[in-house]
Structures are given as structure tokens and as C-alpha cells.
């Protein structure tokens, strides 16, 4: 573990920005909220934020992305497109790092998604331990409040200094600068980081009443409880907010957009969400999840069961974005999961 003075970290970030080798993005404030965005200078960086509106996933799988460009002037010509901007992403919380680890598995699964993987490969992830905890977060229950790996560098605020944990050689290389003043952490500082991480575990207002390892079983048991799902989905707008802000939602829709000349165009993908009515509609008009309640149930099944069965991870990292941004306040996983758990013996 290393230690760097806060002002030296600021200089370091400014130097990375000036260096221009990679785009430097980090957490910035947007009105009363926070977002990951391009940094103009280190002063903009808000490392004591609670949660961002969208997760950093957007840098590996942009909201809208061109996959193919085509033209039809003489025959059909097509070219695969992947716009890769190498980036340093500063200020990722542990739950988002866990989500990125999960997404790395999803997109590396056959067929590999080069558009994601190349962007991911060219990115450097700098994590930070939480100073502020969102009132909606339950990362403490999901085992994602702190993290052992998945970052290139990990920062912990020690007042006038940051502790820096080096996770990978990519992270180490980033620090190899003569101008950078950094020293080894002293035993008290190592202990301080340990204490801080332990305290984070106890800082959550929301929690799951049981181990998340029970989720696959619990959800399978309650799949057929249609009254439960209907009752809880009654106020659902089917607006897809909970999908779009989720760090482990990765579904997308692909559409061709022709230029007005009708001779060239592009194939685009845009984030999609299983809560949207047209999501499961297929040619011929059949919709496999026509009812609000079916879609509502599906999201919980994905998070707690289906993805676990496929990749071995509980695909909810407890960030609380879905519940905090749901206008009718019906998307809180702790609410639904705890209700199911307390009803299990009935």
C-alpha cells in the first residue's frame, strides 16, 4: 500500500489530463446529483460522492453506439465500427467495480462482444472507498461495500492523504512518474484503511434480512405467486428507469438507420430494458411478457436467479440506483426480497 498527499493526487490528475494520452473521466456534480464525466481539471473531481445517476458501464457500452456503417451505392459495403476512446476512470465505488467484473464475464461469453471488450481493455479503473453512502444502498448486504480486486488502483481517504492500493500492473504503470511524490504506507495507515473498510460495512440504512445466497432458491419458490407480483407491480410505469440505471443490466436493441440519401446508413445499438412493453415483443406481434407484473417479476428473477444460474453471480450489487430513481418508489430490491423472505414460512 502506498500513500499520497491530497494535493499531490490533484497534481497527478491534472498531469494525466494535460498529458492527453487517455481521456480522464471522474465523478462530477450535476445539480444535486453526481455523474461520471470528462474532467477538465482535478478540482472538478468529487471523490466523496454518494452515488452517480448512471454507472460507469456507459464507458464500455455507450447508451447509443454504432456497430456497422454501410453503403449501397455499388453493391452493399459494410464495415464494423468500434469507437474506442482509451480512458482513465477515477472514483469508482466497490459495488460498481463488482458490477464491471460481472459485465466482463457477460461480454466475454461467446460470442465475445468486441465493442465492449476493447473499450474495457483500454480503460484504467481507479476505485475509491465510499465516504458517503446513499440512503438507498444496501451494498453491505450484497458483499460489495468494499472489494479486494477488480480495480487497477484503489483510493481510501485518510484526511489529508489518500491510501493507494495497487491492483494491477496497469495501475502500477500509471503511477510510474518521476514527478509523483508517493511513499509506502506506514503500519498505522494500513490499519486505518482496514478500520475504514470495516466501518463502511456498518453504514447502510437498508439491508437484506438474509444472505443473498438464498436468492436463487427464494425467487424460484415464488415465481408462481402471481398475486404478489401483480400487487407490487401495480404502480409500475414500465418506464425502464430501474433497468437503465442498473450497473448489471446489459440488454440492448439494434436498429438500422438509413441516411436520407437511402444510400448509406448505420446499424446502432441502444440500451434496452426488460421493463419496457415492447422488449419481449417479436415479429408477428406476440409478446412474451405482455403484462406489467410479468415484466416486473422478470427483473428480480434476472438479478437474483437467472444470471446466477448462468454466470455464478448474484447480479444485484446493492447500489440502490433503481430504488432511488423510481418515481413511484416500487423498485427497491430489499423491500421485495425481504417481503418474500418473511413470507416464506407461510
Amino acid at each position: 500500500m502506498k500513500v499520497i498527499k491530497k494535493e499531490d493526487l490533484e497534481n497527478f490528475v491534472d498531469e494525466l489530463i494535460a498529458n492527453n494520452e487517455k481521456e480522464v473521466v471522474g465523478v462530477k456534480s450535476k445539480d444535486s446529483k453526481y455523474v461520471f464525466d470528462k474532467l477538465e481539471n482535478a478540482e472538478e473531481l468529487e471523490l466523496d460522492y454518494d452515488v452517480t445517476i448512471l454507472p460507469p458501464k456507459k464507458y464500455f457500452m455507450p447508451q447509443r453506439e454504432t456497430l456497422v456503417e454501410y453503403e449501397t451505392r455499388e453493391g452493399i459495403e459494410m464495415e464494423a465500427v468500434n469507437e474506442v476512446v482509451p480512458r482513465i476512470i477515477i472514483g469508482i465505488h466497490p459495488y460498481d467495480l463488482e458490477a464491471i467484473k460481472q459485465m466482463d464475464k457477460v461480454f466475454a461469453d461467446s460470442p465475445e462482444d468486441d465493442n465492449y471488450l476493447e473499450k474495457r481493455e483500454k480503460s484504467v479503473l481507479i476505485g475509491v472507498n465510499m465516504k458517503q453512502i446513499s440512503e438507498w444502498s444496501f451494498a453491505g448486504s450484497m458483499g460489495t461495500a468494499t472489494i479486494e480486486d477488480g480495480y487497477d488502483l484503489m483510493l481510501t481517504d485518510l484526511g489529508d492523504r489518500y491510501a493507494v492500493e495497487i491492483g494491477t500492473s496497469k495501475g502500477r504503470e500509471l503511477l510510474e512518474r518521476e514527478s509523483l511524490e508517493m511513499r509506502d504506507a506506514e503500519p498505522e495507515e494500513v490499519e486505518e484503511v482496514e478500520n475504514i473498510e470495516e466501518n463502511i460495512q456498518n453504514g447502510f440504512e437498508k439491508e437484506l434480512d438474509f444472505s443473498p445466497q438464498n436468492l436463487p432458491w427464494l425467487l424460484a419458490e415464488n415465481y408462481g405467486d402471481e398475486d404478489f407480483w401483480e400487487e407490487n407491480a401495480e404502480d409500475c410505469y414500465s418506464c425502464g428507469t430501474c433497468n437503465i440505471v442498473c450497473p448489471t443490466c446489459y440488454c440492448f436493441d439494434v436498429q438500422d438507420f438509413s441516411d436520407i440519401s437511402l444510400e448509406e446508413g448505420e446499424r446502432m445499438r441502444q440500451w434496452d430494458g426488460c421493463m419496457l412493453e415492447a422488449f419481449a415483443e417479436v415479429a408477428g406481434g406476440e409478446n412474451f411478457r405482455e403484462e406489467r407484473a410479468e415484466r416486473y417479476r422478470h427483473r428480480y428473477m434476472r438479478k437474483g436467479r437467472y444470471l446466477y444460474n448462468r454466470f455464478g453471480d448474484i447480479a444485484c450489487v446493492g447500489c440502490g440506483r433503481c430504488s432511488s430513481q423510481c418515481v413511484p418508489d416500487i423498485a427497491d430490491p430489499t423491500d421485495i426480497f425481504n417481503k418474500l423472505w418473511s413470507d416464506k414460512d407461510e
Binding site: 410505469y237 418506464c239 428507469t241 437503465i244 441502444q270 413511484p328
Partner: protein
């Protein structure tokens, strides 16, 4: 596309501000690209010629009296494809605010002592309430790019890609701070997306100009607005600006 293969297109306006046709006129240099795929035979904002020989009719404005009804039916007979453009033509638009008001008062406010000389329906209607409409370009005003997308789709014989999900989707994709988090209230959760949440991107709210999605959860949204402290009357006002005709049509279903 060979010039002679281009479908002939004509614009017609009914009760409305002609702002949607203005959006088309404002395509400026892109209007030349448009002319490569359609032949304009009638469009009073940009040309003096007129012809009743057309394949595609673009309808702007809502239908508010029997003369308009007759005229629209004639256009429907002449055209192979009818496209409603703008909120007045697609959902009754601003004109339909009056649908929920006392009609005599409405007439008096508009025509004063002369009101008996003017025939008008009690309720303003969108084009589809009078004739079959093949395509709709939503918005108040319409989005120029979406208009081009619909025209292209017609020429290519494919379905245009018009979202049937709420504005919330685009608001989140654009990482806007939700109006509800800013202590404001909007109808984005029940309004059809496709505008790229342009109003909220600029820091204001969604007024619902693209109309409600096909299957909105109006009841939930009315409850939510009341929970956030709006009175029942204020909630109705939120819904009345653009949704009056749609709400009534849904109740009649």
C-alpha cells in the same frame, strides 16, 4: 432513386399553428435531400404551385368542424398514404384543452358576440378520429430528424421506428437529474419518447407534447403526483395540456 419514381407529396393544414410545416421548411439544405426521395406538389410555406395529384398527404392541425372533416375525407380519398404530423393532428394537441371545458364559454371567449356565425365542434379531434391515418409524426413541434426518418421509411416501405416507451428512458440515457428530484413534476413517465428528452435536457420538464404511450399507467401517475403534494386540480392540469382527447378516447374504449 430516379426522379420519376419519387412519390408525390402534399402538405395540408387544419386547426393549428403551422409550426410543424415550419419545422419541415426549416430543414433548409436538407430539404434538397428530401426532394431526392419525394416530389413536392403542394406545400404553401415554401411554394406557390398546388396539385391534387399526390400519393402521400401530410396533415397538420386538428379537426374542429364539418368543413374540415369533409376536406380531410377528400384528401384521404386522393392519397395512398396519410401521415399526421404534430400533436394537433396526432392527439388533438393544444386544441383539445377545450374538450374538457364548457363549450359555450369557449365559444364566447374566442368569438364573443359573433359566436353564432361560427360552426365548431364541441371537441377538437386528431386526424385519426376522422379518417384512417397510416403514420404519425408526434411532437409539438415535430422533430425534423424524426420527420425525415418517417418519410424515408415510407419511401423504403418499412415501418418507422417510433418509440412506445416513456420519456424517462431518454432522460436516463441522457443522465438528467429527474424533475421529481428537483421538486418539479412532469408527465414524462406516461409520455411517448422520441424527442431525446429535449426539454428536460435543457433543465425544464416534460409537458407531454408527444402524447401518452399506448399503454400508460395514468392511475399510478395521478397517485404519484398527488403523493408529491399536487392537488387533484393541479394533477388534472398536468394531464390536460396535451392529453385531453387521448384520455377521453381511452375512457371510451
Amino acid at each position: 432513386m430516379k426522379p420519376e419514381e419519387r412519390p408525390k407529396a402534399a402538405f395540408f393544414d387544419f386547426a393549428g399553428c403551422e409550426g410543424d410545416q415550419l419545422q419541415v421548411a426549416n430543414l433548409e439544405e436538407k430539404i434538397l435531400d428530401l426532394l431526392n426521395i419525394v416530389e413536392l406538389v403542394s406545400f404553401r410555406e415554401v411554394m406557390t404551385e398546388h396539385s391534387d395529384d399526390y400519393d402521400v398527404a401530410f396533415i397538420e392541425g386538428s379537426i374542429t368542424d364539418s368543413h374540415a372533416e369533409e376536406r380531410l375525407k377528400e384528401i384521404r380519398n386522393n392519397a395512398d398514404i396519410v401521415v399526421a404530423i404534430g400533436a394537433c393532428a396526432t392527439i388533438g394537441g393544444i386544441n383539445s384543452i377545450r374538450n374538457a371545458q364548457d363549450f359555450e364559454k369557449v365559444q364566447e371567449r374566442v368569438y364573443g358576440d359573433e359566436r353564432e356565425h361560427y360552426e365548431a365542434w364541441e371537441k377538437a379531434k386528431p386526424a385519426k378520429a376522422v379518417v384512417d391515418v397510416d403514420y404519425e409524426v408526434h411532437g409539438c413541434p415535430i422533430d425534423r430528424e424524426e420527420f425525415l426518418h418517417v418519410v424515408q421509411s415510407i419511401v423504403m416501405g418499412r415501418e418507422p421506428n417510433i418509440p412506445d416507451y416513456p420519456v424517462c428512458v431518454e432522460c436516463k440515457l441522457n443522465e438528467n437529474v429527474c424533475a421529481f428530484e428537483r421538486d418539479e413534476f412532469c408527465v414524462g413517465p406516461v409520455t411517448r419518447a422520441g424527442c431525446d428528452s429535449c426539454c428536460v435536457n435543457e433543465g425544464t420538464i416534460c409537458w407531454g407534447c408527444r402524447g401518452m404511450i399506448d399503454n400508460p399507467n395514468e392511475e399510478a401517475h395521478e397517485e404519484v403526483l398527488e403523493e408529491y403534494g399536487l392537488t387533484a386540480e393541479e394533477v388534472m392540469k398536468k394531464f390536460d395540456l396535451y392529453f385531453t382527447w387521448q384520455k377521453e378516447a381511452r375512457e371510451d374504449e
